[in-house]
């Protein structure tokens, strides 16, 4: 266990992706995202809910464009949470959670447009689907957005 950690945090091995991230970072991000999305669902048609969703969309965009290590959530994890945790058993590639943030952004934007256009239920369903993905990530460390990638590739090849 410790040897894996040493190898991962030390000089990056040539075959491995450099600079892995602590997998619990994205999990914290997902937990905070789930709380925000739940609040959006409870507030939704009200402007406060729409504004909250817009803020979440910005967080998703930062994660997707700048990387999951650059979100406010990641900063919170680094400064507050990680110092209290034991070192991770293994580090993870940041590409999958980053891709998932992009999928989250797509759902948040659909929700935002729908809510602004007055299609409240459509917006709420889009937010609800993003919430399912965030909960799966937070509770089970399972990346739904990542799984959609292969399905998408298969569909693209078929069509």
């Amino acid at each position: 266990m410790s040897t894996i950690h040493e190898r991962a945090t030390g000089a990056a091995t040539p075959t491995d992706t450099p600079a892995g991230i602590d997998p619990r970072g994205p999990q914290l991000t997902a937990a905070l995202t789930a709380v925000v999305l739940a609040a959006v669902l409870l507030l939704a048609p009200h402007p406060a809910g729409v504004a909250l969703l817009a803020v979440q969309a910005v967080f998703f965009a930062i994660g997707a464009v700048a990387g999951v290590q650059r979100t406010p959530h990641a900063w919170l994890f680094r400064t507050v949470v990680r110092p209290r945790l034991a070192p991770p058993a293994e580090l993870e590639d940041p590409a999958p959670p980053r891709f998932a943030q992009g999928v989250g952004l797509a759902f948040a934007l659909v929700g935002l447009v729908a809510l602004l256009a007055g299609a409240t239920v459509v917006g709420q369903v889009a937010v609800g689907l993003a919430l399912v993905a965030a909960l799966l990530n937070a509770l089970f460390a399972f990346c739904l957005g990542c799984e959609l990638y292969l399905v998408g590739a298969r569909l693209r090849a078929a069509g």
Binding site: L42, P96, A141, E147, L150, A153
Partner: protein
């Protein structure tokens, strides 16, 4: 004054019914996430059955009518794929792993399978990028990454697991290959 109270009334009316649509969707999302998560936790990495029957049907249906004979002669799709990526089948068995670019558990799976292949004699580990072999992905009916397919010495599928398997699960699956 009048306007403000009117707005308050409207707001109260939309929040008042015992549970709003948003709250129902929230409950549905939590239930769905728990159901999917628990199901996944229970089935991930478990080796069970094969897609041999389905793969056989898919190969036979569109092609020659004498598919029984053709099937017997035809190289198994797993073996074709292993040759395609320039690897060779293990003397006893091959652990064929499908991975993709955005797949967190693929890394752990790679380590487990490479570990097993290093320990058990005659077992090879072959990892392929599913995205670059979509034809094989379709023929073998791979839906998720990681998917691990255990191939016998002749390249036919013995069993498979979707999701990251534990070392004991891989060893138990290999024990069924003979």
């Amino acid at each position: 004054m009048v306007e403000r109270s009117g707005r308050n009334n409207r707001e109260r009316r939309s929040v008042a019914p015992c549970m709003s649509t948003g709250a129902w969707i929230l409950v549905a999302a939590v239930v769905l996430a728990l159901a999917v998560g628990l199901w996944r936790a229970a089935t991930d990495g478990r080796f069970r059955g094969t897609h041999r029957v389905r793969a056989g049907e898919a190969a036979g249906s569109g092609a020659v009518p004498a598919d029984r004979e053709a099937e017997a002669v035809e190289t198994p799709p797993g073996a074709v794929l292993v040759a395609e990526v320039g690897e060779t089948l293990g003397e006893r068995a091959t652990l064929l792993q499908f991975s993709s670019a955005f797949c967190a558990p693929c890394r752990a799976t790679r380590r487990v399978l490479a570990d097993v292949a290093g320990v058990v004699p005659g077992v090879a580990h072959v990892e392929v990028d599913a995205e670059h072999h979509l034809e094989a992905v379709r023929r073998l009916g791979v839906l998720r990454t990681p998917t691990t397919i255990v191939l016998a010495a002749d390249g036919t599928e013995v069993t498979r697991a979707a999701g990251a398997p534990r070392k004991e699960q891989v060893l138990a699956a290999l024990a069924t290959v003979e």
